[in-house]
Amino acid sequence: MEPTDEDLYRRTRKGDRKAFAELYERRAPSLYRYALHVSGSHTAAEEVAHEVFLRLIRPDAGFDPGRGPLEAYLYGMARNLIRVMRRHQTVEEAGDTAVEHNILGDLIRNERTAALYAALRELPRQYRDAVILCDLEERSYEDVARLMGCPVGTVRSRLHRARMLLAARLKPLSVSAGVIAR
């Protein structure tokens, strides 16, 4: 049976290098994506994913299994780190994800991505987390409820409300992009 995050954490605290590596492989990519979606910056996301694990190594890492799953704790740390980075203005705004060579397409795509990230950032934290975890990370409602520490129904209603707010916020851009594409 696959060890839980909490098992790996316990072993990590005892100095088990392999357990720490496994925990990192398992959780770093999703933390990176979470940080990317919240910050809109690839560089900041890499930094955050790294820093979360650095803090987990510290003797004063404050994870308490009685208060929730380790994954929720990791997301919480990532969120706080982004907040601190933002306060110190070290998060670049979105736009470092362009890959294609079509200049007009890139412009539209980047503009759309930047607008989506900007709209996500403007959502209340709990709505934003619901969108990121349910729609961008494609986690089940049950999983997200466990991570957010709330009932499944609450997750669903937060997500629906968040999607409605996002759609409303992005609508003007969709219309203008449609005009440009034509």
Binding site: T12, Y24, Y32, H50, T113, C134, D135, L136, R156
Partner: protein, 197 residues
Amino acid sequence: MNCHGWAVELVECARSGQLPGPELQNHMRYCARCAERWEDERRLSARFQVIRQAAAAWQPSAFRRRQLMLEFERAHQGGFRLWARWALSAAAVLLVAVAVTHDWRRPAAKPAAAVAIDSASDAAADDAGFVDVPYAPPLATGELVRVIRTELEPAALARMGIDVDATEGAQIPADILVGEDGFPRGVRVLAEFSELQ
């Protein structure tokens, strides 16, 4: 079902990439608001799909991973050093505690109950069996003295002219006569004193 009820199904269909069921499709044919919401939701899901794909390929770089593992090793070596430091400190404290307790439990180390005598003089001290401490100033007439019970080294007693075996290792119970100035004036070996009595 009203529009609010349909909205739940509509969002879930857009999220899963499925087409709405016939009933909802029928509803959307005459409800412009739900039809518009369906378009918004579909568009939003498509955007999510794009950024999901862009982020999916990310893996931690080998450099970052190596850095982290080095940090992990350093932290745990540090942890060991910290543990060792604590262990050594604890051992030192334990040793001191044992030494102090051992010393404490020896009757000699206890400042034996001080016995105050109301008045004294050299003569009274002599009567009580005290031997003068060499070169100590004489007690003044009417000077108050204290008697302190303790244990003394046989060699120290022998130097004062008291007849004890100086080579004996064990300390000998004795009373010390102390003047008002705090200086010892006389010594009385308890065994010898009892013999004299």
